[in-house]
Amino acid sequence: MDIASAFGMSEIALQLLVGLSRAMILFIISAGLSLILGVLRVPNVAHGSLYMIGAFAAYSVNQIVGGAAGFWLSLILAPLFVALVSFVAERVLFCHLYEREHLMLLLFTFALMLIFGDLVKFFWGVDYKSVTAPDMLKGSVMIFGLPFPAYNLFLLIIGPVVGFALWLFVSKTRIGKISKAASVDRMMVGALGINVSWVFCTAFVIGCFLAGLGGALIAPTMGITLGMDHTIIMEAFLIVVIGGLGNIWGALVGALIFGVTQSIGVMLLPQFAIIFPYLAVVIVLMIWPKGLLKSVW
């Protein structure tokens, strides 16, 4: 089937733009996961739950404040709330477990995921929640002569902004540099007399902040519901792995692959669109078994 003739070039371009904007959210979440994987070596399954908490928290902020102000405020407060939760979790639980094997850590974070899931159920209930975007992000913008949702355009802008901020953090700040060094050689950093524990904590909290931000950003685009953590965490893990574990730019590449293959899937076989990203992951890993970009593991 000739895709171009079936859809028209502009529709394809539009569909790809939608894929890219979805990739931006995936990137923000996966970058956080990748940071934690790289610096702490913790395969944090609870990352998806933090994303879910971010979305629910954004809903609550919107309920309390309301209007456009509520939306913008939720983009700041929800991730901060998630960061706070993760800070407590790190100091109370994780910091005692860093030396355990990966399988144990993974199952431990899975236990946390179950706990977070039940806590969300307890505080927010089982009903669908929704958040409306402010007026300026509602409706559509004309691109290639076709309407393109304004909110997706907003995501396309915010993704690179977050990426840039993260790059600034990792390469310009002292703690960022230390955490980068720690991801390559932990012993070395410890030997330099740096308090590794706090470096880990900072990296963990920032990673989780990103998960919360992802949740807050996705809130206006879909129903906020229990179980939204299950799909996202698996996708985030796959993205991080095909990009290269612990490599933040790898998360970007992986997210783009994920988003774009999904929109290609939507065009080719709408019913089976969700299969395409998985297929892409399998193909990437068969050719590059350690991911596309350099992994720190």
Partner: protein, 319 residues
């Protein structure tokens, strides 16, 4: 055949236990019979996983897929083909083993987390197929009311069938674990490099272990259908795979019977706490977290250690 492999008293105890299980349906209400049957199914699944994870040391993170494939295979074979039911029963585990072979061939080149991830993506692919292919698999509704031979219909009959298959399977798994293949597999788990240096093609061993484990997972899937008479895409979803990993952890990775205990604990929580409170997963998760903190060898593993220490103490005193 078992000479010297298990202690005489243990053998006697197990035989007595089997007899008790045979008479259970006469004594307890059918709800509990159903419950025990479902524990047996899960226990078999968890044990098949433990062959690969506990004794093979592989990051088999999406074992649930083979269970799901076994279940879907029997459902589709019975519903959509004229093949006699009993032949479907035999074919289905082989379908699961074939899935294990294909997925295993793709995964085995990678190690650790990468192995886990490519397996999760392959499994998710199958899940997505089952989830969306309404025409063939019934999509997210699944397939219900799968006809079963009358011999194994009804709670009691299916219980007997499951019990017998379960016993045969654990005997087979036990034999495999104690065979040269089993000890070589454990050697490769302890030290892959060393194992290659003594002339073992480790990857081939691990692949074979995956195939065997998926065969038994497929049997568990068939038993699930015998009990429930329906299949749905959740059987292939990754959370189930993590749940069975947790069963292995609860019971103990390095023990043979651990996963049975793990499955029993988990399903008891779900069934008996689940009717009390909707927050049963919270309790499970707290137990799990405590376990990882304090008993990483699992419940059964912990007791085995204790027993061993006591035995050693006794022999030392004897000397």
């Amino acid at each position: 055949m078992f000479k010297g492999m298990i202690h005489k008293n243990t053998a006697f105890f197990l035989a007595a236990l089997f007899v008790v299980f045979l008479f259970l349906p006469k004594i307890i209400p059918s709800y509990y019979v159903y419950f025990i049957a479902s524990v047996l199914v899960m226990a078999l699944l968890a044990m098949s996983l433990n062959l690969v994870v506990g004794f093979g040391g592989l990051f088999q993170f999406h074992h649930g897929v083979f269970y799901g494939v076994g279940a879907y295979a029997i459902a589709l074979l019975v519903k959509k083909t004229p093949i006699p039911e009993w032949i479907c029963f035999i074919l289905s585990p082989f379908v699961a083993a074939l899935a294990g072979l294909i997925i295993g061939l793709i995964c085995i080149r990678l190690s650790k987390l990468y192995f886990a991830m490519i397996q999760i993506s392959l499994g998710s692919l199958l899940w997505a197929l089952a989830f969306r292919w309404y025409g063939f698999t019934g999509g997210d509704d699944g397939i219900h009311g799968i006809p079963m031979p009358s011999m194994i219909s009804g709670v009691n009959n299916s219980y007997y069938f499951i019990l017998i298959v379960f016993v045969v399977c654990i005997v087979a798994l036990f034999m495999i674990l104690k065979s040269p293949f089993g000890s070589t597999l454990q050697a490769a788990r302890d030290n892959e490099q060393r194992c290659e240096a003594i002339g073992v093609f480790v990857k081939r061993h691990q692949l074979f272990a995956i195939v065997i484990a998926s065969f038994f997972a497929g049997i568990a899937g068939v038993l699930f259908v015998v009990l429930e008479r329906s299949v749905f895409p959740d059987l292939l979803f990754w959370t189930l795979s993590l749940e069975i990993l947790i069963m292995c952890l609860l019971g103990g990775w390095f023990t043979f019977a651990g996963p049975i205990i793990g499955a029993a604990i988990m399903l008891s929580l779900r069934t008996f706490i689940g009717i009390q409170t909707e927050y049963w997963t919270l309790i499970l998760a707290v137990i799990l977290a405590l376990l990882i903190f304090f008993l990483p060898e699992g419940v059964w593993g912990y007791f085995q250690e204790k027993l061993k220490h006591r035995k050693e103490a006794v022999t030392e005193r004897g000397q």
